[in-house]
């Protein structure tokens, strides 16, 4: 089975979010970048599936050269090779067009992504690629098994889950508990250095959106502490001050 996993290069979940250049650019200073946590679940499940069924596992990122350490980490976790589409990922459509092109070219049986990126939280690239390639796209997938040419999975819905079956090839946007995050071991890290990382060109320049300005939420006021022996006061405040009861 040929598996493709698409990964984002995103600020660590503990990063302080700030902007520069008149609030038009993300401030990267002091920020550590990681594989998107949802993409990391997709990758972990892909490694397990490859162990079960054999075949190959490729990771793909649309990004500039700065994303290579993140891509190498995915190689250390267990991908065989990588593709970097050398372009600034301008928006979701731009990214989807690149992925669709290279996914088609590679003829993959299974394309795994994260349910959403943790920077722009679009949750849309998998659906766009699915539509562009005329393939089913299912998200958010929390359990995935492959039996022959059929995928069986569970998709999270509000308040529960639904179980689905679909024939390969198809696209899934993954989330936990599809697999446990894998931490690269020493052997993985060593071998990742020499695994192929192919840099390719963008195939389309189309976009649909652009960010005019970034904004931060207003600062939160101080907490009002209420004595633990006077919980009635809290109820009063919620009713009369916050007016939420």
């Amino acid at each position: 089975m040929k598996i493709l996993v698409c990964i984002t290069h995103v600020p660590d979940t503990t990063s302080k979010i700030q902007f520069t250049d008149n609030n038009t650019k993300f401030d990267k200073s002091g920020v550590q970048f990681i594989i998107g946590p949802y993409d990391d679940y997709a990758l972990a499940r892909a490694v397990e599936l490859k162990e079960q069924t054999g075949g190959s596992l490729t990771v793909l990122n649309v990004g500039e050269a700065e994303t290579e350490p993140t891509i190498r980490k995915a190689l250390a976790i267990g991908a065989d090779d990588a593709i970097r589409v050398n372009a600034f990922p301008k928006d979701s459509l731009f990214v989807a067009k690149q992925i669709a092109h290279y996914a088609k070219e590679g003829g993959y049986d299974l394309i795994l992504m994260g349910r959403e990126s943790i920077d722009f939280n679009g949750g849309m690239v998998h659906g766009m690629v699915g539509e562009l390639l005329g393939m089913p796209s299912i998200s958010p997938v929390m359990k995935l098994d492959i039996e022959g040419s059929t995928a069986k999975m569970a998709r999270e819905i509000e308040g529960g889950k639904e179980y689905l079956e679909v024939s390969l090839p198809f696209i899934a946007g993954c989330q936990e508990p599809i697999a446990e995050w894998k931490i690269p071991n020493m052997r993985g890290i060593m071998s990742a250095r020499t695994k192929p990382l192919n840099v390719v060109d963008a195939v389309s320049d189309e976009t649909a959106t652009s960010v005019v300005e970034f904004q931060l939420p207003p600062a939160k006021g101080d907490v009002k502490l209420i004595d633990k022996d006077n919980v009635e006061e809290l109820v009063r405040l919620l009713k009369n001050e916050a007016k939420v009861l």
Partner: protein, 321 residues
């Protein structure tokens, strides 16, 4: 010109967030001119369809095909695309949800439409077309310009107040033609808590963390939730250990909630948990450690033992009624 709204149902009931999406579209139509048409898929009775009117729709196209009761992503996308054509709409509005996201993404390609998700405010159409959306999991916003003729806006909960005073909507049966291929993904069964208030839709959420010590103590959380008419949530470790089901896990890697009131009990307030609750209007924190980081994100706090405070708080809420 009409704005089209894709509405979702669960067991024949229209979701509240979908009604909010109609009210959002109505406010937009009032600004731009035009009216609102909703499209409803699957078996829904007339009375329920009428609610779209109170929320602001002038008309509802009803595709009464029981094959669409379940959220088959490709089939829903195909049906909504046909409604979009029929209405001659330029804008599609929907509520952000697990199904809405998946359907909207396919529609963006089908309709050549720019798609903005997590929309928090009405678009600014003064010059160009700018939409404010929440990004970095609620830690920032992006004023986003749409350059396409057709537009899709996936609206975040609480972006607008639900209208309830609209006139009745005209219900029109709408036939769609769906290729077999859109049913390629087969839903074999569903496993869903019924009768409960759904977490992503809830106006009040009571969440417990590791400080609750074990699943046997969750009755304390549930009792308070019941008095408040709230949904229950939890922190990630709590669902990882299996104390609570995964769909209750709130945070960066779980459900992002946007209630008017979020009550956090025995949760430390790690940045990844806060990422899922920072769109709440008010936050109450109950924690025995005065240094717990959650107090910094809270509006109201009680420093104390959850096992003492929760029963008292439940009583106090009961006494209010």
């Amino acid at each position: 010109m009409s704005i089209l709204v894709y509405i979702e149902q669960a067991d024949g009931a229209i979701k509240k967030t979908s009604l909010e999406a109609i009210s959002f579209a109505k406010a937009l139509a009032d600004k731009e001119g035009g009216d609102v048409t909703a499209v409803a898929l699957g078996s829904i009775d007339q009375g329920e369809l009428g609610k779209t009117g109170s929320a602001g729709a002038a008309k509802v196209l009803h595709v009464n095909d029981e094959k669409l009761n379940a959220g088959v992503i490709q089939a829903h996308a195909a049906a909504v695309a046909q409604a979009f054509e029929k209405v001659g709409a330029k804008t599609l509005v929907l509520a952000k949800s697990s199904l809405g996201d998946a359907v909207a993404a396919r529609l963006a390609i089908k309709l050549n439409a720019g798609l903005v998700s997590n929309v928090t405010d009405l678009p600014d159409t003064g010059s160009g077309y700018k939409v404010k959306r929440s990004i970095y999991t609620g830690k920032a916003f992006a004023e986003t310009e749409l350059s396409t003729d057709n537009k899709i806006l996936a609206v975040k909960k609480n972006a607008i107040d639900l209208k309830t005073d609209g006139a009745d909507a005209a219900v029109e049966n709408f036939e769609v033609s769906l290729d077999e291929s859109v049913f390629a993904a087969k839903i074999t069964s569903t496993d869903q808590a019924t009768g409960d208030i759904l977490l992503p839709e809830a106006d009040i959420v009571v969440s417990g963390g590791r400080g609750m010590k074990g699943p046997e103590n969750w009755n304390l959380i549930e009792d308070l939730a019941k008095e408040l008419g709230a949904a229950t949530g939890c922190s990630k470790p709590v669902s990882d250990i299996g104390w609570r089901p995964h769909h209750e896990h709130v945070g960066q890697t779980g459900v992002k909630v946007a209630p008017t009131l979020y009550v956090a009990v025995g949760i430390s307030g790690a940045i990844q948990h806060l990422a899922g609750v920072n769109s709440s209007k008010y936050i109450v924190v109950i924690n025995k450690d005065p240094e717990a980081p959650f107090f910094k994100a809270a509006d109201y706090g009680i420093v104390g033992d959850a096992f003492e405070v929760l029963p008292k708080l439940t009583e106090a809420v009961k006494a209010l009624k």
